[in-house]
């Protein structure tokens, strides 16, 4: 194992070691997720077009997303009222439950030519430096691989329009140079990528 790999392994282990003390309860999360199943699927793999899958998302990502829905930085007519009723413990439990579910790539019609163009763009626009080379996400950064195409399009367009409310402004900044065609190509590449769970 090279020194660099060891450092990376240590870095990932460090985060896991620190975060585990505060992790939510998967079983409690399973019960609390029952009202979410109608849109997001019982195991967090959604089937309705436009609805994001939450299975295999990093727990910190889901938790921060719920915080943003609750405090109004992120707005959605369906999600905002749900999040408004959640306690901090509910959010931790739900996030832990979804993180523990194996993700599946969404069965959807994806344009291979667009996806090939999107693969180039993902490198040019540094998507992989936070979302990881396989787009599986990490920490507060979501898994994009195998996600619902319509949802990916909606979010990327919202970041471009500066209405998506990201934590540190990184995605809003990253989306500014994207053309409508770029967004389309990127979303197709993300949607077609195999859905491996986050580390």
């Amino acid at each position: 194992m090279s020194l660099r790999l060891m450092t990376l392994a240590l870095f990932v282990w460090t985060l896991a070691a620190v975060s585990s003390a505060q992790a939510g309860d998967v079983d409690a999360g399973r019960r609390k997720a029952e009202p979410c199943a109608a849109c997001h699927g019982a195991d967090g793999n959604a089937t309705i077009v436009g609805m994001p899958s939450l299975a295999g998302q990093p727990a910190w990502f889901t938790h921060w997303a719920l915080i943003k829905f609750r405090d109004g930085r992120r707005k959605d007519p369906v999600m905002s009222p749900f999040a408004a009723r959640l306690s901090d413990v509910d959010m931790a439990d739900l996030s832990a439950y979804y993180a523990a579910q194996p993700p599946r790539r969404r069965p959807q019609a994806v344009d291979a030519a667009k996806a090939a163009a999107g693969k180039e763009l993902a490198s040019l626009h540094h998507c992989t430096s936070c979302h990881r080379p396989d787009l599986s996400g990490q920490n507060q950064v979501p898994r994009l691989a195998g996600q619902d195409l319509e949802y990916l399009l909606k979010l990327l367009r919202a970041y471009k329009a500066q209405t998506a409310g990201d934590l540190e402004g990184l995605m809003t900044q990253a989306a500014q140079p994207l053309s409508a065609a770029d967004i389309e190509n990127l979303a197709h590449f993300m949607a077609i990528s195999p859905a491996s769970p986050a580390p």
Partner: protein
């Protein structure tokens, strides 16, 4: 001038590329900007912020080492992403945050601390100060004023918007501090790791408490998130974060002294007072700029910067500067994660000493000391934005 012309050409070309004629490499995320190609596989990245505060019983505060007679305890927990602190007139402690988007009020109820969220959904409301019954909060991009807030902690008033700061998010979470001139001092950080900043960025500035009378105070300041005024001379001292991706040991983060307004402190041309930047320092000399008072260590991330004016700590601490260091990310071995003191005596070099250490073990983060506030009895409150807690450091001889 040639450089400016070249940048203009690059900007024009970039715009042409963006129109789809050619697909060009795009700017990386802000934290990664300036990283040389040979480090493209570096695992180094900013330490992610947890979405939950750590319960007091799980915070490894027993690992913190202090000088003899000092003691540290968890004073309050459950304050997600706790950053700058400010006392209200009636004994409420207000606490800002960064990614949590909250401003908190901590109220002491017979030794038990109750934490209330008084503002939420703000964009990085790091800076908080208090004056004449009003809480001032700096988020991005606004300066907000909450009047008569201590009487309305459960139903906070809608804030007045006093001022609009630059809208860029990067390095624009800011400290707030009242100067001896009763003006409000704050930073406007560089919108990048290393770049030629617009005039509106990379400085410390001030304005009147009502948001009027803006003026620059210090130029060439990459990212300062902590400052204070000397208890005797009333002059401004501030810390600043040096650039990333130029090596584990370069450049140092720095302590600066600004006895008058208008000085330029070197960035992006000169780092740590003695080394010109390989790209932006061409044709420039460090002798053109006001040098730092002290090199604080590479990537150690100085945040809370406060003079000690109390009388609880031993007399040698009187008027010493305390610097809370959140700790490094852009370095293969973690450094910082501590509180240091600086003794400043006329005609003598600054004396730089460890006060509190042990907030990391090797590369494992045990805590991130962030901002400092003083209790009435002279003891210290120290926020930790990783655990979402506030520590209390007391002294008994």
């Amino acid at each position: 001038m040639l450089r400016i012309a070249l940048i203009s050409v690059v900007v024009v070309l970039t715009n042409v590329f963006a129109l789809g004629l050619v697909q060009a490499q795009q700017p990386p995320p802000a934290w990664q900007q300036g990283r040389p190609p040979e480090l493209s596989n570096s695992p180094l990245a900013p330490v992610a912020a947890p979405p939950t505060p750590t319960p007091a019983a799980q915070i490894p505060v027993n690992k913190v080492k202090l000088p003899p007679g000092f003691k540290i305890t968890v004073w309050a927990d459950g304050i997600l992403n706790a950053r700058q602190m400010a006392w209200g007139d009636k004994g409420t402690l207000f606490v800002g945050s960064r990614v949590a988007g909250n401003v908190y009020a901590v109220v002491d109820r017979a030794g038990r601390r109750e934490v209330k969220v008084v503002a939420k959904g703000l964009v990085m409301p790091n800076g908080v100060v208090f004056k004449d019954g009003a809480l001032y909060v700096a988020d991005i991009p606004r300066l907000l004023k909450y009047e008569n807030i201590e009487a309305n902690l459960d139903n906070p008033p809608a804030p007045k918007e006093l001022y609009t700061f630059p809208k860029e998010a990067h390095h624009n979470w800011r400290f707030l501090a009242w100067g001896p001139d009763s003006k409000l001092y704050f930073n406007m950080g560089a919108p990048c790791n290393i770049c030629m900043p617009p005039d509106t960025h990379a400085n410390i500035s001030r304005m009147n408490a009502d948001g009027t009378g803006f003026e620059y105070v210090a130029h060439g300041v990459r990212n300062s998130v902590g400052a204070d005024f000397h208890p005797v001379t009333k002059e401004l001292y501030f810390t600043s974060h040096g650039r990333d991706w130029a090596g584990d040991d370069f450049p140092n983060d720095t302590l600066h002294h600004a006895p008058r307004k208008g000085l330029h402190f070197g960035w992006p041309y000169c780092h740590q007072g003695d080394t010109v930047d390989p790209d932006f320092g061409q044709g420039r000399s460090c002798s053109e700029f006001a040098p730092p008072l002290l090199k604080l260590g590479p990537h150690i991330a100085p945040v809370g910067t406060r003079f000690y004016t109390g009388s609880l700590f031993p007399p040698e601490y009187k008027n010493r500067l305390f610097i809370a260091q959140k700790g490094s990310w852009n370095r293969s071995q973690k450094l910082g994660y501590r509180v240091m003191t600086v003794e400043l005596k006329p005609g003598q070099p600054p004396k730089y000493e460890v006060f509190a250490e042990g907030f990391h073990e090797g590369n494992t983060v045990l805590g991130r000391p962030t901002y400092i506030e003083w209790m009435k009895d002279g003891s210290m409150l120290l926020s930790d934005d990783f655990h979402g807690a506030i520590y209390h450091i007391t002294y008994q001889r």
